[in-house]
């Protein structure tokens, strides 16, 4: 392949046979699916299907980068993994920052596909063309810091490592993979996929260059990147909020709009939010770090130097963690949150899902739906740091009640019965993130339609969070500005969620960080087009229209992946708490979320039929996804617009 930017190769690893081979990345694949998330969707569509058990040797773990990874491009140090999720049984993906992604490119690969299962614990050590299977029985049982240190001690400090901790080894359904110590491939249980393969870690180091098609033209993009981050209108505010305080700068502001999940999302406003805000956390900051090739530099290390949590030092906590383990549990001690963040990082546990499973336990205990004898001595009272810490441990090690909770909030609630399911806040089995659809209606649409489940990262819109009128006018037109920017109306939200989903499909494939595209809205399709063309030499990448179609294609492919799994529109629902319980307190008091109008508008814009929940065949054909339509037609009858009447038969 002569496309620049790309490494041009995919590394396939078979853990059962302990064999590996590198295959070329085809040009038409790169042009059609861009890279990263798009490439992963294309690969997984062909590698697994509805009969693949997520924890079986047949499930594939795809690790993917994009053409901009390793190049000097805005926030382009991120990479992603994708697989069939052990937690939800459907599309799973997770992204992480740090500096691991670029090393994959420097080693000469755009993606790595891992299949099979090792007979004993192993780590894969990739050093340019060399791939070593390193016996890891000695570090099986180690936390992520120790396993990372071990591999770097043995093979070299310039290796970057992604590893599971005890949670992934124990197949906890929401276990994470930790990268460069503190960066999390957090959600959808990717840690359990590695655990099921007896794969402890993947380490990589590379010495090859990333080539540029037109260096003279590419310089312009680099200079624009620099200008935007040092002189542009978003430069100073980005540095004074995200840069200085990190993502926790959001806590008190989100509370001010009444959207801060409090007490298992019972309400969105907490009087004590300032105790866990970004400026409170600043007191425990010890250093600041950056992802590879990023100028926002929002990562921080925190440390507690005295008291009962002395010695707790880790990267983060980020906004989602501060909320999930803070206001969500009515825990107002930032030191406890720092400690729990460290535990989750060491064990390799998704802080978002863990926090929502714990708040579920707190609430059902309060409501008398679970007894003390079930809990083995843990007293899950609101605000109890000890209970939260204990639950993190028993979940990781599958002890007592932890064994059930490790299956995720849906299975746990189902086993308990007695109405516990009402308090299990999820969509499609993925626990909800740190937003509330009652205070920001578009969140309801995002959670319902997202391929991972209740996920904020595939299409969370920020134009309506606080209200950015000029961005809204630019992207959607002056006539829509009022409603688009009003977070408390459902109007136009289906449209903006679909637009964001297309944008993020491209952003997740380039790969760029959303801090930079979501907020601050420094970059949009046009910039990405101007970046990709001189980098890769692909003429079509330079056309916004083409990129938008690319985004649509990737978004549709993932939705079709889920359709093949048997996911239907019936699963695109929100927990009753958000549609039926009016927000009880705070600035967004009284509101509920009405999903239907947003869902209808989203389907209409997606080119899918709302009644059946299926894509029109013409939509898939128009995106070059005929092969997908053909596969789906073996299982479902897809509607066609030209029949006039939508008559579909669902599979039994």
């Amino acid at each position: 392949m002569y496309l620049k930017g790309y490494a041009g190769r995919i590394l396939y690893i078979d853990l059962s046979k302990r064999k590996y081979v590198s295959e070329p990345l085809r040009e038409d694949t790169a042009k059609g699916y861009l890279g990263g998330s798009g490439l992963a969707a294309y690969l997984l569509w062909n590698l697994v299907n509805e009969n693949t058990h997520p924890l079986s040797p047949e499930n594939a773990l795809v690790i993917a980068t994009g053409p901009a990874t390793g190049a000097l491009a805005p926030s382009s140090g991120r990479f992603m993994v994708a697989s069939k999720s052990p937690l939800t049984g459907v599309w799973g993906e997770s992204h992480a920052g740090g500096s691991f992604g670029p090393q994959i490119k420097y080693a000469g690969y755009d993606a790595i596909v891992i299949m099979g299962k090792s007979t004993r614990p192993v780590s894969i050590i990739i050093d340019d063309d060399s791939v070593v299977f390193y016996d890891s029985s000695g570090i099986w049982g180690a936390n992520t810091r120790d396993s990372t240190n071990h591999i770097r001690d043995v093979f070299g400090k310039d290796f970057h490592v992604m590893t599971i901790g005890q949670a992934g080894e124990n197949l906890v359904k929401f276990s994470s993979i930790m990268v460069d110590y503190y960066r999390a491939l957090g959600r959808t249980g990717m840690g359990a996929v590695m655990g099921s393969k007896y794969l402890k870690a993947v380490a990589v180091r590379g010495s090859k260059p990333v080539e540029v098609h037109d260096p003279d033209k590419y310089v312009e993009i680099m200079e624009e990147f620099l200008r935007i981050n040092t002189e542009g209108r978003w430069a100073l505010p980005a540095q004074l909020s995200l840069g200085k305080y990190g993502t926790p700068s959001l806590v008190t502001v989100i509370n001010a709009i009444g959207r801060l999940p409090t007490k298992n999302h019972w309400t969105g406003y907490w009087e004590h939010a300032d105790r866990i805000g970004g400026d409170e956390l600043l007191k425990y900051r010890v250093s600041r770090g950056s992802c590879f090739s990023c100028m926002i530099m929002c990562k921080h290390m925190t440390s507690v130097d005295d008291g009962v949590y002395e010695g707790s030092i880790s990267g983060g906590p980020e906004y989602e963690t501060v909320v999930a383990l803070g206001s969500n549990l009515l825990i107002d001690d930032i030191k406890a949150i720092i400690h729990m963040n460290m535990l989750c990082n060491l064990y390799g546990l998704d802080t978002i899902s863990a926090g929502k499973v714990i708040s579920f336990v707190f609430e059902i205990y309060e409501k008398g739906l679970i007894s003390d004898s079930d809990l083995g001595g843990i007293k899950p009272l609101w605000g109890s740091q000890n209970a939260a810490i204990e639950l993190i441990k028993v979940i990781t090690f599958r002890q007592g009640i932890g064994n059930l909770l490790a299956e995720g909030v849906v299975k746990a609630a189902k086993a308990m019965g007695k109405g516990a399911e009402y308090y299990a806040l999820h969509v499609k089995g993925l626990e909800v993130s740190a937003q509330d659809p009652r205070a920001q209606k578009s969140v309801g649409c995002t959670w319902a339609v997202s391929v991972r489940g209740a996920d904020h990262l595939r299409s969370l819109t920020t134009v309506d969070e606080l209200g950015y009128r000029d961005i809204a006018a630019e992207r959607f037109g002056l006539d829509k500005v009022e409603e688009v920017c009003d977070r408390l109306t459902e109007k136009h939200k289906g449209l903006i969620v679909k637009d964001q989903e297309d944008l993020f499909a491209v952003v997740d494939s380039v790969i760029m960080c959303k801090y930079g595209t979501m907020w601050p809205p420094m970059y949009y399709f046009d910039f990405i087009a101007r970046l990709l063309k001189p980098l890769t030499g692909v003429k079509e990448f330079g056309e916004v229209k083409y990129l938008r179609i690319l985004g649509e294609r990737i978004a549709n492919l993932k939705r079709c992946f889920n359709l093949r799994e048997g996911v239907s529109k019936e699963s695109e629902v929100l927990p009753a708490r958000f549609t039926q319980e009016p927000m009880p307190t705070g600035p967004s008091k009284g509101y509920t979320c009405d999903l239907e109008p947003m869902l209808r508008e989203y389907y209409q814009n997606r080119g899918w039929d709302y009644e059946s929940g299926l894509p029109y065949e013409e939509t898939l054909e128009g995106l070059g996804l005929e092969y997908v339509a053909k596969e789906l037609s073996k299982r479902l009858k897809l509607p066609r617009r030209d029949y006039g009447v939508t008559q579909v038969t669902r599979r039994p």
Partner: protein
Amino acid sequence: MGIQSKHLVLDLEKCTGCRICELACSFYKHGRFNPKMSAIRVHYNYELYRAEGFNACTQCGYCVSYCPTGAIGVVNGVVIINYSVCSGCLACVKACPIGALISVNGRPFKCDLCLGSPQCVKYCARGALHVS
């Protein structure tokens, strides 16, 4: 020679390990992206999130006398390699006391302050780099 005239200085407190300096250098000097081809290399500790050192030519001129073809000279306080005279023996690379002279595609390579306005300094968004 021996006089530390102009050379790159990295403020370790300010550095966040983004490596954009290395990418900028590699791109401007070699037209591609590869930190291993950069004349400046940052030693960043990912476990503790702090920069612990950096490596770049201090323009000390120690290598000059080790070159058998006389390809290395000093111009305005900056040590420059004349590639049309360089034989590729890499004796200078072996001689450099701090390992700042590296081999890239068989040729010796080092920081020459971009002969005026260093790109790494320009691209450091935190202003952590400057020329002493």
